[in-house]
C-alpha cells in the first residue's frame, strides 16, 4: 500500500512545481534559498527514485502509470522499468553532486536561472528514462535539449557561444527528423504508445516506411547519444562548458538519448535483423573515430570529451546488438561511463597552475581505471559481456576492432594519468566532495556481480526484456 506512494508522476509534478516557483524562491530568500531548495529537491528525488526502482522490480513487464486515468494507448503512460529507474536515480544523484559543486561557482549569474536549468535538465532526462509514449519521449527530449543549450551557453564566453551554436543547429535538425519519424510511425501503426506500437508492428512488419522511421529515429537521438558523425558538436562543448554541467550531460542527456534509442530499437522495432549490421558498424566507427581523435588531443578536457564519445559508441554497439548478454553489457557500460567520466570531469575542472589536485588522487586513479573499463570498476564486466556477446553472435571482425581500439584507449589514458598524477595542486574541500562520493559509489558498485543477491539486480534489469521484449 505504501509502495503506491512511489509514483514517479509525484516526483515529476513536485519537481516541476518547485522549478516554476523559482522566481518566488528568489524573491523570498535570494539565490541562497534557490540553491537550498534545489539541493533538497535533488536529494529527495534520488531517494524517491530508489523507491520507484524497487517498486518497478515487482512488475514483470515494468510498472505502467496511467496519466489522466485513461487506459493505454489512448492516454499517455509512464512505463517504468528497473533499468530506466536506476539510470534516473543516477541522474538525480549526479545532479545533487553537481549542485553541491556549483555552490562554489560565483560566476554563474543569474544563479536562480542556473539552478532551474540544472533541475530541468535532470528532470527532462529522467522523463526520457521513464516515459512509455513516443511523442511524450519527444517532448522530454526537447526539454532536455533546451536545458542543455541554456546551460551550455550560460557562461557567455567565447568558447561556450561557439560550441553551443553548433550543438543547437545539429540538435534542431535532429528534432525535425524525429518529428518526421513520428509522423511515419503514427501514420503506419496508428498508435503512439510504445507497447502498443510493438504489438502492432509485429503484424505490420518492417516495411519501407518503418525502415525510414528507424533511420530518422537514429538521426534524432544520435545527436545527443553522440553517434558518429552527429557527435561533432560534443568535444567543443565538453571543452568549454563548466564541469558540473558536463557531468550532468554525461549522466543525463547523453544516457537518456541512448536509452531512448534502446527503447525504440529493441522494444518498439524489435532489433530488425536486416539493419543490424549497419548499426553495429556505425557504433564501431564511432568508437574507433573517437579513440583515434582522443589520442592526438593536447587538452585533457578535449581528450576526455572524445573518450566519452568512444564510450557512447560502445554503448551503442551493445544496444544495437540487442541480445541478452549485450544488453547486460550496455547496462553496466552506461553506469560505468556515468561514474568514471563524471569523476574525471570534476577533477579536470580543477587543474590549475600546479597541475592536477593532489588531494583527490584516489578518485583520480579510480576515474582512470573506470575510463578504460578496468577493475575495480563494473565497466570491466560490461566489456567482458560485450566481447562475449559479439563472439556468441559471430562478429569476430568487430571483436578484434574493439579490442584494438581499447588498447589505443589504454595507451592515451595512461599517458594522461602519468602527467596528471604528478600534479601538486589543491582542490577546494567543498568541490572535492563530488568526486569522492562518486568514487565511493563506484567502489560499492564493483561488488555488485560478486554478491548473489545483488547480482540479481542485473537480471532484474534484463528480465522484462527476456519475458516480454520490454525495456
Amino acid at each position: 500500500m505504501t509502495l503506491k506512494l512511489f509514483d514517479p508522476m509525484l516526483m515529476i509534478g513536485i519537481s516541476l512545481a518547485i522549478v516554476f516557483l523559482m522566481p518566488i524562491w528568489k524573491a523570498l530568500g535570494g539565490k541562497k534559498l534557490a540553491w537550498a531548495v534545489s539541493v533538497l529537491l535533488y536529494a529527495f528525488n534520488t531517494l524517491f527514485m530508489i523507491g520507484v526502482a524497487y517498486r518497478a522490480t515487482l512488475y514483470p513487464e515494468g510498472l505502467i502509470i496511467k496519466i489522466g486515468g485513461f487506459k493505454p494507448p489512448f492516454g499517455i503512460v509512464l512505463h517504468v522499468t528497473f533499468w530506466g529507474a536506476v539510470l534516473s536515480t543516477f541522474v538525480w544523484f549526479v545532479a545533487f553532486l553537481s549542485i553541491m559543486y556549483a555552490s562554489t561557482r560565483y560566476d554563474a549569474e543569474p544563479a536562480d536561472v542556473y539552478y532551474a536549468l540544472l533541475t530541468l535538465l535532470a528532470l527532462g532526462s529522467s522523463g526520457m528514462f521513464l516515459t512509455g509514449d513516443i511523442f511524450n519521449l519527444f517532448v522530454f527530449t526537447e526539454i532536455t535539449a533546451l536545458a542543455a543549450f541554456g546551460l551550455s551557453a550560460f557562461m557567455k564566453k567565447k568558447g561556450t557561444a561557439y560550441a553551443t551554436i553548433k550543438y543547437i543547429i545539429m540538435a534542431e535538425v535532429a528534432s525535425a527528423f524525429l518529428l518526421v519519424a513520428i509522423a511515419l510511425l503514427y501514420g503506419k501503426l496508428g498508435t503512439l504508445n510504445m507497447l502498443d506500437a510493438q504489438q502492432t508492428l509485429k503484424t505490420v512488419g518492417m516495411t519501407g516506411a518503418m525502415v525510414l522511421s528507424v533511420l530518422f529515429f537514429l538521426v534524432g537521438y544520435g545527436v545527443e547519444a553522440e553517434i558518429f558523425p552527429l557527435n561533432l558538436w560534443a568535444p567543443d562543448v565538453y571543452k568549454y562548458v563548466p564541469e558540473e554541467v558536463i557531468a550532468l550531460f554525461i549522466s543525463g542527456s547523453s544516457k537518456a538519448a541512448a536509452f531512448a534509442w534502446l527503447r525504440m530499437w529493441v522494444m518498439v522495432f524489435g532489433v530488425p535483423q536486416k539493419m543490424l549490421q549497419t548499426m553495429l558498424w556505425i557504433g564501431i566507427v564511432t568508437f574507433a573515430f573517437a579513440e583515434v581523435m582522443a589520442y592526438s588531443q593536447k587538452s585533457f578536457r578535449r581528450a576526455l570529451g572524445y573518450a566519452s564519445l568512444g564510450q557512447a559508441g560502445l554503448v551503442f554497439v551493445a544496444i544495437s546488438l540487442g541480445s541478452e548478454l549485450a544488453l547486460k553489457a550496455a547496462f553496466l557500460l552506461m553506469i560505468n561511463h556515468i561514474l568514471s567520466e563524471a569523476i574525471l570531469f570534476y577533477i579536470a575542472g580543477n587543474i590549475g597552475e600546479d597541475g592536477a589536485p593532489a588531494n583527490v588522487r584516489i578518485p583520480l586513479v579510480f576515474g582512470f581505471l573506470g575510463a578504460v573499463s578496468m577493475p575495480p570498476f563494473i565497466g570491466f564486466w560490461g566489456k567482458i559481456f560485450l566481447f562475449m556477446a559479439l563472439a556468441k553472435a559471430g562478429y569476430w571482425v568487430m571483436f578484434v576492432l574493439i579490442a584494438l581500439f581499447s588498447i589505443v584507449e589504454i595507451a592515451y589514458m595512461y599517458k594522461w594519468f602519468i602527467s596528471l598524477y604528478k600534479g601538486t595542486g589543491k582542490m577546494d574541500l567543498v568541490r572535492s566532495f563530488s568526486p569522492i562520493m562518486l568514487t565511493l559509489v563506484s567502489f560499492a558498485m564493483w561488488f555488485m556481480p560478486f554478491v548473489p543477491k545483488i547480482m540479481d539486480l542485473l537480471d532484474l534489469a534484463i528480465k522484462p526484456f527476456l519475458q516480454k521484449g520490454v525495456m
Binding site: D7, M9, L10, I12, G13, I14, L16, A17, V19, F20, L21, M22, P23, I24, I65, K66, I67, G68, G69, F70, P73, F74, G75, I76, E109, P110, V113, Y114, A116, L117, L120, G127, F135, N136, V139, F140, E142, I143, L146, A147, F149, G150, A153, F154, K156, V180, L184, Y186, G187, K188, L189, G190, T191, L192, T207, G208, A209, L212
Partner: protein, 228 residues
Amino acid sequence: MRLKHILAWVFVILFVGVVAYSLQTEVPFGHDLTKLAKYYVDNTAKETGIPNFVTAIVVSYRGFDTLGEVTVLLLATLGVIGILPWEKHEKVKKAHPVLLWGIRIVFPIILLVGVYIVIHGHLTPGGGFQAGAVIASAFMLYMVSLSTHLDLEAFAFTESIAGTGFALIGVAGIFAGGAFLYNFLPKGNLFDLFSGGIIPIVYILIGLKVSSELTEVVSHMMKGGAEQ
C-alpha cells in the same frame, strides 16, 4: 554552383522522393482513421465532456505533453534570460502621438480577443497557446511602438503562479483519482461554457503562462544583453 550545392540538392531531392513515395504507398493521403483516432472521435465527448476534440486531447488525454511543452517555453525564457540578461534600463523615448493613440485603441482590443479565445478554448477553435501568442503579440506591439519596457517581474510571477497551478492540479489528480492530471471536477453539459471539469481551468492557466513567457522572451530578444 559549387559541387557542395549540387550534392546538397541531390540529397534533398532524394530525401523528398523516397519519403514521399513510401508515405504515399503505405499511408496514402486522406486514408482511413487510425485506431487511436477512431477511439477519440467516438468517445471524447463522452469521456471529457467538451466538443473541441483537439483541446480534449491537448489538455486531457495528452495533458502531460502540454505540461512538458509549457516547460519547454519556460526553458526558452530561462535560456534567453541567462544568455541575454537585462541589465540597464534605458530611458523611455517620447512616442509619436499617432502611435500613442493608436496603441491605446488597438491594445485593449487585441487583449480582449486573446481573452475570448482562451475562455472558449474548449468550445471553439483556439485555446491557451493561440491566446497566449495573441496576448504576447499585443504586449510586443506595445513595447515596439512606444519603445518602452514592461515590468518583467510581474510577468515572471504570473508565469510562475500559472505553471505551479498547472503542476499542482496534476498532483491533486493523483490524490483525488489516482492518476496525474485526473479530471476530478464535474464535467457539466456538453457545449456549456462551464463544462469539462479541469480542462478550461488548465487551458486558462496555460494561456497565462504562455503569454507571459512569450512576452518575456520577446522583450529580452529586443533589449536584453545590449550593454556589455
